[in-house]
Symmetry: C2
Subunit: 126 residues, 2 copies
């Protein structure tokens, strides 16, 4: 028998597997990753507008969606200050910060090996 690098998943239900896969995809996706990054760079909580400014080219709708998802995944805290006009602040949870750290290590590996991808004899372009 070959050893399976996914062996530690043996005891997982299909639901758990799907959930883990979902988290992996979300964490690696464009907007969530950039939002997490922006939040991690900030010294403290950021208002919605600040995030909107700092995540280049994101639309308001998508930012809202992204933040909602991150919040429900426990990666981001949303704090509403009931004022007029309202003030809403976002910040990373410890879990969000940890996850970002994990993704960054994968990111770092990719960056280091960047020149090994596609440059080979295959049909790299496009």
């Amino acid at each position: 028998m070959k050893d399976d690098i996914f062996d530690f998943c043996r005891n997982m239900s299909d639901e758990q597997d799907a959930r883990a896969r979902q988290m992996l995809e979300r964490a690696a996706a464009k907007w969530p990753l950039r939002v997490l990054h922006v939040l991690s760079e900030a010294d403290g909580p950021l208002r919605f507008s600040r995030v909107l400014e700092r995540v280049e080219d994101i639309s308001q709708k998508v930012l809202t969606q992204t933040l909602r998802t991150l919040e429900s995944d426990g990666l981001v805290i949303r704090t509403l200050y009931p004022q007029v006009p309202p003030r809403v602040e976002y910040e990373l949870t410890p879990l969000g910060r940890e996850l970002l750290t994990q993704v960054v290590s994968l990111w770092r590996w990719i960056v280091i090996h960047l020149n090994e991808f596609d440059t080979s004899k295959s049909a790299a372009r496009n």
Copy 2:
């Protein structure tokens, strides 16, 4: 100044950054990941049909696309034996195997922390 966990990207061009991001998204995406996994489990090269069988619910078209992308990214080797009927075999490159290893470590982290996502006070407790 805050320390930026992406500091090691400072010297990267926009193109390199985009390429790295693309590789990250691809590596975490559903089909590429499952194809890499199937290939890593096999003892040797796998024929197209075998991969099609083992990657559950993937369509032929998407499998072809996925394999082509993986090949052009240098993660998979495609070997054509000019016979009738043709025989085509796929196997991981060392780079592909390494990348999968990296993704798996992120995957493992996610699995370990699975119960910390969303179960918290945000969604579950109404």
